[in-house]
Every structure is written in structure tokens, then in C-alpha cells.
Symmetry: C2
Subunit: 312 residues, 2 copies
């Protein structure tokens, strides 16, 4: 089986209250692919410039990620993003965005990428997501990420994408913004009427929830003593979540599979933020992920059936 991700491959400059990096491999497709590669064969569809070195590519290929569909634009420069995190690490300012070759990106999918059973459309202009969806009719599970920018300036196209996918993965505030609803439950229910059968609400440092017509499941972020760099946490989460689903191909997807997919996404994301950029996930191992999922279960489980006598 295989999983195709379409999205940004980038260089990031990140500043936190305690440290800074001027140039690291990043981008939504990069973080997603590294996370998902623990679970399934991953094809990355993206675009880079001359500044993307063999060493950068090796970060992906070392994890058996297929980089055939990463287009190299001669004379071009790779997408560059620069940001600064505030004290609580849950909010950030973008200091610089240079789209470069990403500005005119037209995803070109090989037959292998088109025929993947699972497709993840990382955050990118919705019209491109739509064109990729049309090329990947074989996929039995499709998921999409987006952002406030597209809700504001390309909502019609985004709604067309949403109508066609199985799953939407968004920040909780963006889900509320997209639907105009005041709680995440009412917003998710509105989205479930618009196409997807699965809605995942990312809640930043607080965790995430998944909502379907059958029920919901909520998991906290894994509590860490120190967070070095939150960049890519959401994409790592999505990579673990979608990767887990890709590796469990029985359809329809049960709520049991979704629960564990949420746990695996949470575990991988927690490693991502422990160090800068892709540093930690690049040397992560399967047993470490499995151990963290067990720890996550241990800190969230309680006995809801313990007898109690209340006073009224």
C-alpha cells in the first residue's frame, strides 16, 4: 500500500524565546511524510529550487520516502518561511514568507502517486488540492488540511475540496470560522453535513479531537517538560494519524481505529516539538513511538464505572 502527500517542502528559520535556527528543512509535506513513513510507503509531491541539496533529500530517502515527484526547478529557490514564537509557544508571528518556486507549483503526479490508496492534501491553495483530488480517483481514504487564509480568500474552492474528501483536519478555531458555529461540536457537525465523514480538530498544545456521526474521541497533547520548536507539530500529527489509517485498510474506518490513529498522531507530534525542525523525528524509532502511545494511554485512562454514592 502507499500514501501520497501533496504540499510544501520548505526551508524554515525559527526563533523561540530560548534559541534560534536560520535554516532548517521544513514544510508541511516534509513533516507529514516523515511522520507517516513509520506506517506506510510515502510518495511526496512537491517542488524545490536549486538550494535543495542532496543532503536535504537524504533526510526523506533515509526513511524510505519516495521523492520521485519532488520537482526541481532549475534556477529557482525553495519556499522559505521565517517565524518567531511567543513565550507560551502556542502563538507565533510570521517574520517572512518567500513562496519562490512554490508560488507557481503545479503538482505533477507519477502513476505511483496517482494510484496510492491514501491521499493527504497538505495546506495549499484549494484549487490545487482540487486538481490533485481529480487525479487520485483510486484513493480509498482522502484527507485535507487548510488554513484561515483560504477560508478568507478561497472559501468556494475550499468547500468544493471539502465536499470530496473523507476527512478534514483543521485547527479548532478555523473549523469554527469556516462554519460560523460557536462550539467545536456544532462546527464539526456542520462540516459532517458538507462531505467528510471524519472531522479532526487540532487544538495546538492542548491536543486534538475527532468527530464522526458515530461519536467523538479526545486526546490531550503529550505533556512535555520542554518544547523546543512547535513548527510542524500539526503536520506530524496529521502524518501519524493518516499514516495509521493507511496501515489499517479495512473500510469503513471504525471509531476504534480512529482513536488509535489519534494517539499515534499525538505521539509523533510530541517528538517533533522536542527539537528543532525535523531533527527529532528524523532519528525517531518505532519502539519509541509505541512506548509513548502506551504512556499516553496511561495518563488519560480512568475507571468511569467505579461505584459511587452521591448525596442526591
Amino acid at each position: 500500500m502507499s500514501l501520497t502527500v501533496v504540499g510544501s517542502v520548505a526551508f524554515d528559520a525559527v526563533e523561540t524565546p530560548s534559541a534560534k535556527r536560520d535554516r532548517m528543512l521544513g514544510g508541511a509535506a516534509t513533516h507529514f511524510a516523515l511522520a507517516a513513513s513509520f506506517f506506510d510507503h510515502v510518495n511526496v509531491v512537491g517542488v524545490v529550487g536549486d538550494d535543495f541539496s542532496a543532503e536535504d533529500e537524504a533526510v526523506l530517502t533515509a526513511h524510505k520516502i519516495d521523492t520521485t515527484d519532488i520537482e526541481h526547478v532549475a534556477g529557482g529557490k525553495t519556499f522559505f518561511w521565517s517565524g518567531r514564537y511567543h513565550d507560551n509557544m502556542n502563538s507565533r508571528d510570521t517574520l517572512d514568507t518567500q513562496l519562490n518556486v512554490f508560488e507557481t507549483f503545479e503538482p505533477k503526479l507519477s502513476e505511483a502517486s496517482k494510484n496510492a490508496e491514501t491521499l493527504f492534501l497538505a495546506n495549499i491553495v484549494p484549487a490545487i488540492q482540487l486538481s490533485v483530488l481529480e487525479q487520485c480517483e483510486q484513493a480509498t481514504f482522502t484527507a485535507v488540511d487548510s488554513m484561515d487564509l483560504w477560508i478568507n480568500i478561497a472559501k468556494d474552492d475550499l468547500l468544493k475540496v471539502i465536499a470530496k474528501v473523507d476527512c478534514i483536519i483543521l485547527n479548532d478555531e478555523e473549523i469554527e470560522m469556516l462554519t460560523g458555529e460557536g462550539t467545536i461540536v456544532s462546527a464539526a457537525r456542520a462540516l459532517l453535513e458538507m462531505g467528510p465523514s471524519i472531522v479532526v480538530a487540532k487544538q495546538g498544545k492542548y491536543g486534538a479531537g475527532v468527530i464522526t456521526k458515530e461519536g467523538s474521541f479526545w486526546v490531550p497533547a503529550f505533556p512535555l517538560h520542554e518544547v523546543s520548536d512547535p513548527t510542524g507539530a500539526g503536520d506530524s500529527f496529521a502524518g501519524g494519524f493518516v499514516g495509521y489509517i493507511a496501515a489499517h485498510p479495512e473500510r469503513p474506518i471504525t471509531l476504534e481505529v480512529l482513536r488509535r490513529a489519534m494517539a499515534y498522531g499525538t505521539a509523533v507530534a510530541s517528538f517533533n516539538v522536542e527539537e528543532f525542525g525535523t531533527e527529532r523525528v528524523a532519528r525517531l524509532t518505532g519502539p519509541e513511538i509505541i512506548e509513548r502511545v502506551k504512556e499516553l494511554a496511561a495518563i488519560t485512562q480512568f475507571d468511569g464505572d467505579q461505584p459511587i454514592t452521591l448525596r442526591r
Copy 2:
């Protein structure tokens, strides 16, 4: 057994995007006491003015809450607070605060209140919390709430309170502010060195976590389709949490008891926000709480031991 709470009894005016109330019974001690009364006999220590009617008092006494130590100041007016919630209901503006009789409140504890096994110091000036603590030397479990205001203007007194209590219950951002630490885990660990053996981090609409030297436990807020009025949610949570601990008097408190206490606090708080003020909790029943705790378990549990083969 019994539980004493010292704090504000108030009237609230609340405006949300969809509705408004000009005057409702409120205050931290009120919300806490109603929630805790499902679990233990509760004594409320507070102060009110002439405007506090027999009908207001009946909201408490109908739940077998002991109001002997609510002082009535002749010619005085009860503490009044007015606030407006923003669209996402997680932030609010205070429109008006009239301390009235609460400004010169000197808690007078009857022997029954002094001898309670459990003591909760709701959010109030730390010097008063300290004087109450000194009067309640019998208590085998003491917990305190506070707020950013006291961290800013009465930090020394607050630290003296913290040094003496078993448990501190605070918003996560206030815990980070109080300790100067950047993550809730490092901040909680710092607090555990300052006196308490239990730190509870309230995370607003996202849930809460409890951290001890033995481990931690995290629970999401119960997902609701509609939130009518978040006022008092934190105090209702504390009431359910502390009440559950009061009703399970084995000491030291195990992490198992803390987990369930967190679940019960979460359940009661979720009812509190379903309607305005004390409306919903005032007619809440034990079986409804127990049912919601079961539902909370159902939407947070997953099998962390399910075998999986990862690709590396």
C-alpha cells in the same frame, strides 16, 4: 465528614453573543458549593448584603448546603460582577466589578466550619486565605484557587498560602506566570517544590490536567453542542474535584482517586455551562453526573496496547 469553602457569594450579570442576564446568583463559593454538595456536607463561609434574599439562600439550602457562616451585613450590598463573553466563549471582558461588602470581608468560621476535614479556599486576597488556613488546622485536605491579580500584587502572601496547602488549582497560564516556566509540566514541577503535592491546571474549554510527583492525568472538557454561560465553570470543576476527594478520605490520595476526581469535576462543570448561572446545576441529579462520567470515559479511552508493526 464535611467540607468548608471560603470565597465570594455574588450576583452576576452576564452577556454572551446570543443572550444576556442582568442578575443571577453567582460567585466562586456558590458555584463550588453547589458542585461539591453532591459529594459531601458543605459549609459556605462568605458575606452578602441586604439584597441577598431568602430565595437566593434557598438555592444553597435546597442542596443541604450549610449557610450558617454566610454573614449578612445590614445596609450593605452583595458583591456584583458583570461580564461579556466573546464569540469563542473562552475569553471575556469584565464590564463592572462592585466589591461592596466583599471588600471588607473577614471570614468568621463557626466551629463546624473550622473542623471540616476538607477546606477549599476560593479565589480571594491571599492574606485572607492565610488567616483561614490558620483557623482550620484539622483539615486533612486543603486546596486553593487564585488568579493573575494576586500573582501580580500579592505574590509573597500567595506563596505563603501555597506553602501550606495540599493542592493548588489554577489556570494553566497563571501557573506558568506564577513560576516563570514555559510549559505546564515544568511549571507544575516547580510548584510541587513549593508545598503542594497536587497541582491542577485548568485549561478552560480544553479541559484540565493534574500533576503530582507520581505522574499526571489529563482530561478534555466534555464536548457540548452549545455553551450558554461559562461563568463558574472553573469553580464547578473545583467543587466536583475537591468534593470527590472529600468523599474518598483515605490518605495519601492515590493517582486513581485523582483521576476520577478530575472526571467528576469535568462532568459537573460541563453541566454548569449548559445554562446561565446556577440554573442547570441547581436542578442537576447524581445519576446525570454518573452518566456523564461514563460518557467522558467512553470518549477518551483507547487501547494503547494494540499490537502494531511499524516500518522502522
